[in-house]
């Protein structure tokens, strides 16, 4: 049984605050979870109009940049190969102070989004839906995950998947 509250990606409140400022400064953005060399594991925040999401890319989910009426969702994409390797973990997007010199847009504000991870429990893994591809979404063969509100990580990492 799949559960809509069980998201493959969540964002911390601190990161959501920065994301809202990035959107205010730049317009619509996407997050693309990177891999590879150097700061490879960090998510890349780019203008939606500046990055072509591939038909095979997978949508991990959408994160809301707040809990108020103005909160907007930002999609979080990942390459299909990397998603397969990451499928058993939940991506937890957080933010740290940074000298702001990377490629990601939040650098202008003196921050860097970072990607932390939490291993799904077997129950959560059974409940979480597969990450759909852009192609599947466009063809109506999959439903986009429900946007998720920011989470508080000040306590232990529990309850991110609010299973019934």
């Amino acid at each position: 049984m799949q559960h809509e509250d069980c998201s493959r990606v969540v964002m911390t409140r601190a990161a959501a605050d920065v994301l809202r400022r990035v959107r205010a400064d730049n317009g619509d953005v996407i997050l693309h979870q990177s891999g590879g060399c150097c700061e490879g594991s960090t998510p890349l925040c780019v203008l939606a109009a500046h990055f072509v999401v591939a038909p095979a890319d997978r949508l991990l989910g959408s994160v809301l940049d707040g809990v108020d009426a103005d909160a907007r969702p930002t999609p979080v994409w990942i390459s299909f190969r990397q998603q397969e390797a990451w499928a058993h973990t939940q991506v937890v997007l957080d933010v740290v102070p940074s000298d702001g010199l990377g490629y990601s847009l939040e650098g202008d504000l003196g921050f860097a989004f970072v990607s932390r991870a939490r291993v799904f429990t077997p129950e959560e893994l059974a409940a979480v839906a597969p990450a759909p591809s852009r192609q599947q979404l466009e063809d109506g063969e999959a439903v986009a995950p429900v946007p998720v509100a920011p989470v508080d990580l000040s306590g232990p990492w529990v309850g991110l998947c609010s299973l019934p």
Binding site: Q33, G35, C38, V96
Partner: protein, 507 residues
């Protein structure tokens, strides 16, 4: 043993400037908007100089200078360009200690590595491409008696190059030397984590190059990198870095219809077949050293052998011996020539690595050694040191699948040859690999079966010019460190000439 004095203190072989500028048109030029950022050494965590926080107008100035320099530079004979490149190699050698200590202070890597590898290899790279361009010959093809195809290699024009922080100087040399040899001029962006050692490097030979042939603009990827990659005035872009940024760069190149070469990392398997333990001899010790090489450069190498696959029948014995070898490595002051493992490049990078170590533990991987930050003594306490860490687990775990870019090794076992190849290839990357065996048949079969651009066989982490380096799968596109990279910096002009006086008879 030598302990080099910290830069800026009495007796140091290098004193950094208080502030650096961009290198444009042979001059040191302040950034247009006048903004700078503090540069921190990972050795102590302290800021030690400032570098330009440049923007798009600075990139435009650099492109102006590069295009102005291009006609003369591209028309020099290969002999003349090679002579300059050769002299650059000599100049690098003459300044070895100074550049090596600058590199160590910028990046955190042990000075024994910069003295013995980074800088000498950079010098050799200039000499290799000086030789390669001298020896390059165009070819002709007699299609038939009266129709001859002549091929000429021509430079592309101004090329853009974006350098990673893990080898601030050597990775720049890998890209600069072939591009200049081929007759191109360059606009280059250093990594913002390591912006100044490359400038000290260039200061050592700036008088040898005509103004504008090599231009360097420091700043943020989102500003300088994007402006460079999207400029209609570059004819090629070369990038080393992460996969998402690499895709973004490749998309820009696609829009401009120019070539992009990408080196995007790896998760390289290091495969130890059972016969390595047949004897307790020098070769067995070499294999144990091969296992330990994941900690070279603190694991901040795209080809870091970060997955060790060990055959089941020797698993426990080999692992016991190999972990003991790992634990014998000396981590400490990067300026001490006895130090074998230094500091990670930045606090954020250190925290990323520690985050992966946490995930590995959560996934159930067993920590055989390390697994935490290393707080050194004195003013090194503020530096970014991580204890070399060995995990035992399964290949499906995140610590086996992601490029951690730190001194973290994930070890698992395999049953037979097919199982070894299956695990080795179960990764999204394909940059490097290692194969260790006493059997020539196993060496060859495994080397050919592993999907990676370079398979070190009974050795690892050698980077000689003359051996092609580059990736399969998500590790990228293109090859470096071999004369074939000249192709990536040249157009082929074909003159197809008829020597017949007869009409073709078509109309």
């Amino acid at each position: 043993m030598t302990v080099y004095a910290q830069p800026g203190t009495p007796g140091s072989v290098i004193t950094f400037q208080e502030q650096y500028e961009n290198f444009i048109g042979g001059q040191w030029v302040p950034p247009v908007e006048g903004q700078y950022f503090d540069v921190t050494t990972p050795v102590t965590g302290q800021a030690f100089t400032r570098a330009p926080r440049s923007t798009a107008p600075d990139v435009e100035l650099a492109l102006d200078a590069a295009w102005e320099a291009f006609p003369a530079w591209s028309k020099l004979s290969a002999t003349q360009r090679a002579e300059i490149l050769w002299k650059i190699g000599d100049r690098i050698d003459e300044n070895l200690e100074k550049i090596a200590v600058a590199d160590t202070w910028d990046n955190g890597k042990p000075v024994r590595e910069t003295l013995a590898a980074d800088i000498p290899l950079a010098a050799d790279h200039f000499r290799y491409f000086a030789a390669a361009i001298r020896a390059q010959e165009s070819n002709t093809n007699e299609v038939n008696e009266d129709l001859v195809a002549y091929h000429f290699q021509e430079p592309l024009g101004v090329v853009g190059q974006i350098i990673p922080w893990n080898f601030p100087i050597l990775m720049a040399a890998w890209k600069i030397a072939p591009a200049l040899a081929a007759g191109n001029t360059i606009v280059l962006k250093p990594a913002s984590e390591t912006p100044v050692s490359l400038l000290e490097f260039v200061k050592s030979f700036e008088d040898l190059l005509p103004a504008g042939v090599l231009n360097i603009v420091n700043g943020a990827g989102s500003k300088v990198g994007n402006a460079l990659a999207n400029s209609t005035r570059i004819r090629k872009i070369a990038f080393t870095g992460s996969t998402s940024v690499g895709r973004s760069i490749a998309q820009s190149a696609a829009n401009l219809i120019i070539p992009a070469t990408l080196e995007l990392g790896g998760k390289s398997p290091n495969v130890f077949f059972a016969d390595v333990a047949d004897k307790d001899d020098a070769f067995y010790q070499k294999a144990l050293e091969g296992f330990s090489l994941f900690q070279l450069n603190q694991g901040e190498i795209c080809t870091c052998p970060s997955r060790a696959l060990v055959q089941e029948s020797i698993y426990e014995k080999f692992l016991t011996d190999a972990v003991a070898r790992v634990e014998s490595a000396i981590q400490g002051n990067p300026l001490d020539t006895n130090t074998q493992v230094g500091a990670q490049v930045s606090e954020n990078q250190m925290n990323t690595i520690l985050g992966y170590i946490k995930v590995g533990k959560e996934e159930g991987a067993e920590v055989l050694t390390g697994g935490e930050r290393n707080i050194l003594e004195g003013d090194l306490a503020g530096g970014f040191y991580v204890k070399p860490t060995v995990f035992k687990g399964q290949n499906s775990m995140r610590v086996f699948q992601e490029e951690i870019f730190g001194p973290v090794l994930s070890v698992t076992s395999f049953t037979d040859f097919d199982d070894a190849i299956s695990i080795a290839n179960d990764t999204i990357y394909g940059l490097g690999a290692g194969v260790w065996s006493r059997s020539g048949r196993i060496q060859y079969k495994a080397g050919r079966a592993i999907q990676a651009g370079r398979v070190w066989t009974n050795t690892y982490h050698n980077y000689p010019a003359g051996a092609a380096f580059g990736g399969y799968k998500e590790s990228g596109i293109g090859r470096e460190t071999h004369k074939m990279v000249l192709d990536a910096y040249q157009q082929t002009k074909n003159l197809l000439v008829s020597y017949s006086e007869e009409p073709q008879g078509l109309y």
